[in-house]
Symmetry: C2
Subunit: 317 residues, 2 copies
């Protein structure tokens, strides 16, 4: 088996140049009250304010803009129950090409509405991984569309890595960068960017205890798959990708797990104090700071808020 | 009866210089999706991201920093069930003087907690205007504290007017400035600032239909008091102040009322699309744009989001 193609630091720089003007340079948010509460100085990189409401717009846009004209003409496709589907739909709309998004029948209405709002074709299927993959194969056979994987893709990882470049540009002094991990697209890209430019900055990943395959894989030194995840952080249910695990082994210092109760507490504090709408998966980084204060005390932390898409009629309190 | 002292434009400029570094220069938020939804180009001035979660920090800080040393030494006092109490507590803490906040016994716990977090003395009383005023008189007699009214005060109005200066500095092209109105501190100050610098810019006030004393006063040409207000916008229940009405008559172009249902719709859209936590009173400006689209279509609007303090356990949906 040949090695998968990994993104390089130069790919992240190239992605930054490619996606500028298509995605937001998101702001960094701070709160004296939250700093006091956590005993840490925190710069929140607010990717919940990204287009389509999550960092996923970066990777999807980089992938779509990387396609040659002939490939792009046939459109793009993926299966997704969440933010990647909306991000790919947005990126395709920006390039004026078709997007085919396979969505499980139990995907939340708000997610379907977001994908539909960007003009993508939605293909519903049974809510199993097998059905999603089989339906995607069918769609590709029918349309010739190019598949963009949500995280195990060098172009996607490079796009997400631009979050790391922006953190180092926007936050003058930083000791630790804290990133959520699900499939590892954001974590792999950010770790590669940060460690290349500033090897002395620690990169810490936070994962829900109920979906801790990255934590276990990192500890065992081999990739183990997630089975039966159980966490409120619905964006972090997936297993690590192959490329993502390779980057994480090389560039990440530690992976820490947090309980769902802390994730909900973190969300509430970010809503009420930062006044910003954070989804559960986006709150895991702040949850890590709350659950392990002694680990971070007195250090200057940059923590990524990965997204803000959720059903506000079904809040966890 | 002598005329009350009205703030001048120079007072707003002086307030801006006085409060810089003590309060935030809040960002302007935009959303292509909300622009499409409302058919208008909107720059949201995000005072929900202000210190203590509302524009009130500006006026309270200007008032507290305007006091001479001897007066300040005795502390400040007010009665408030809402954002002004927290703002005055914050301003007093910043100057390291005492704050005495009279609060009705039915004030929400989150509001009491916010005031307490800034180290102010809370004096509870019966939830009637008479009890609040009588208790405040008592507190002042006992402590010698200086009373800072929430809106009918030239220093407070001048402080709130700095929102208008910042809008003209931050939003390159603007045809209309849209402001919520309750007591009229924010509206009076912003209208004075905007009309002095840019008389051609329209200033439109939005008021909940269930607390429409400003709308009626403006139409009648004389100040009528609010009785039995009934609206979800709990920051806009009060009657217009004397100074505020004088400024509004001179500088405001129109007052428009909106229904509570539209306020809730506006809040939901701001939460889900802007990803920003807006309280009902803060959403009335966007509600005005949604309820009267033909009034604003094609124009460049700056709309103030006045605050983001609410109990997230009691959401109106």
């Amino acid at each position: 088996m040949s090695e998968p193609d990994l993104p390089t630091f130069d790919d992240i720089r190239a992605a930054q140049a490619r996606i500028v003007g298509h995605v937001h340079r998101t702001p960094v948010l701070t709160s004296r009250l939250l700093n006091q509460h956590a005993g840490v100085h925190i710069a929140f990189k607010a990717e919940n304010l990204q287009r389509a409401g999550a960092f996923k717009a970066r990777g999807a846009t980089n992938a779509v803009l990387s396609l040659d004209t002939a490939t792009a003409a046939a459109g793009v496709a993926t299966h997704s129950s969440g933010n990647h589907g909306a991000a790919l739909a947005l990126a395709a709309a920006d390039r004026d090409i078709a997007a085919h998004i396979v969505m499980p029948s139990n995907a939340p209405d708000v997610k379907k509405a977001a994908v539909a709002a960007y003009g993508a074709h939605i293909i519903e299927c049974e809510p199993t991984l097998e059905a999603r993959e089989a339906t995607l194969v069918e769609v590709v056979a029918r349309t010739g569309a190019h598949v963009v994987h949500p995280y195990d893709d060098a172009r996607v990882i490079a796009g997400q890595g631009t979050v790391g470049l922006e953190i180092l540009e926007q936050v003058a002094e930083v000791d630790v960068v804290v990133v959520p991990v699900g499939g590892g697209g954001l974590l792999g890209g950010v770790a590669l960017a940060v460690k290349t430019l500033r090897p002395e900055v620690e990169v810490v990943a936070i994962e829900p205890a109920g979906a801790d395959d990255a934590f276990r894989s990192f500890g065992l030194g081999r990739r183990v798959l997630q089975s039966a995840p159980n966490t409120i952080a619905d964006g972090l249910l997936t297993s690590l990708g192959v490329r993502n695990f390779a980057l994480i082994q090389q560039y990440v210092d530690t992976i820490i797990t947090v309980d769902d109760a802390t994730i909900v507490e973190a969300m509430r504090l970010q809503w009420t104090r930062l006044k910003t709408v954070v989804e559960p998966s986006g709150a895991v980084t702040f949850a890590g700071l709350l659950e392990y204060p002694e680990r971070f005390r007195g250090r200057r932390v940059a923590a990524v808020i990965s997204g803000g898409n959720l059903d506000i009629d079904k809040l966890p309190w």
